[in-house]
């Protein structure tokens, strides 16, 4: 392993992370809900009365964030290596996996770890581990 010092962004990542944490803190304090993106989105597919508007508005804010950001600074570039088939397959796995495992990087990774939930710590270790193995296979073993 070598460390990629050129792309390493400790300060921007720390500050951005703190903004994500602040958003999660505000959502629990103001709305009483966990900022788990897969759960918030997945819940829209099983609509129940009085539980839909907050989900839709939170996600609308998330989607419009680049529009607001672009008013002040140019948006960072996206480097997408995956082709269309890979994107579709990856999306399916992420959709099924996050719902079956009850959470993703935000719900388990940020909120669950912040609550010191052993269930979320286990989930986070598992999906990060699976991510390591997958990238190893795609980039090194099978490439």
């Amino acid at each position: 392993m070598t460390v990629d010092w050129i792309h390493f962004t400790p300060w921007a990542s720390l500050i951005g992370g703190m903004l994500i944490g602040l958003a999660a803190a505000l959502l629990i304090l103001l709305n009483g809900r966990i900022a788990g993106i897969s759960g918030i989105l997945g819940g829209l597919l099983r609509p129940s009365h009085g539980d839909t508007a907050w989900r839709a508005l939170f996600l609308l804010g998330l989607v419009l964030a680049p529009v607001l950001y672009a008013l002040f600074k140019p948006l960072p570039e996206l480097h997408v290596d995956a082709g269309s088939g890979m994107l579709l397959g990856a999306g399916l796995l992420v959709g099924i996996g996050t719902r079956y495992g009850s959470g993703c990087t935000s719900g388990h990774g940020v909120c669950g770890v912040a609550r010191r939930s052993p269930r979320s710590l286990a989930a986070t270790g598992l999906f990060v581990g699976a991510g390591f193995v997958t990238v190893y296979l795609v980039r090194h073993a099978l490439a």
Binding site: D4, S13, G17, A24, A25, P66, A114, V135
Partner: protein, 144 residues
């Protein structure tokens, strides 16, 4: 009024994802590529996010109610069961294939690019398949 705040919190969450670099799948894959040229940035995102979120959860636990007096809804399950393990592994595999997870994928939709849209459509389809399977499991005859 509450909903205006929730919209603003969604914006803040998305801005955090952009500032932290996590909306770029290349940066996420740089972290997941331990055997290559490793970019540790994602650790700093998680560190900063959990630190601040932990303060929020501690305050919420102490108050027991939201600022408007509504109940706080925390997950009740504590089981590290088969669903959690398999679901997390499947999610991690998909995450490693494209470098997108749900939050950054949605936050990249607003850039107008095609790749996040394709990924999100497939992700919603995956979630819908899950709902369909749950629905069939709940009402269908016991198969196994």
């Amino acid at each position: 009024m509450q909903l205006v705040f929730v919209f603003a919190i969604g914006l803040l969450f998305g801005i955090g994802l952009i500032v932290s670099g996590m909306t770029d799948p290349g940066k996420v894959l740089g972290f997941l590529d331990l055997a290559g040229n490793w970019d540790p940035s994602l650790l700093f995102v998680m560190g900063g996010a959990t630190l601040v979120a932990a303060i929020g959860f501690a305050l919420a636990r102490r108050r027991g109610r939201t600022l408007s007096g509504a109940p706080i809804r925390l997950p009740t399950s504590t089981a590290i069961d088969r669903r959690l393990v398999i679901g997390s592994l499947v999610f991690g595999a998909g995450w490693g294939l494209a470098g997108f997870c749900p939050g950054p994928a949605l936050a990249s939709l607003g850039t107008g690019r095609g790749e996040p849209l394709l990924f999100v459509l497939a992700m919603v389809a995956g979630m819908a398949l899950f709902e369909l399977a749950e629905w069939l499991r709940a009402r269908g005859p016991k198969m196994a």
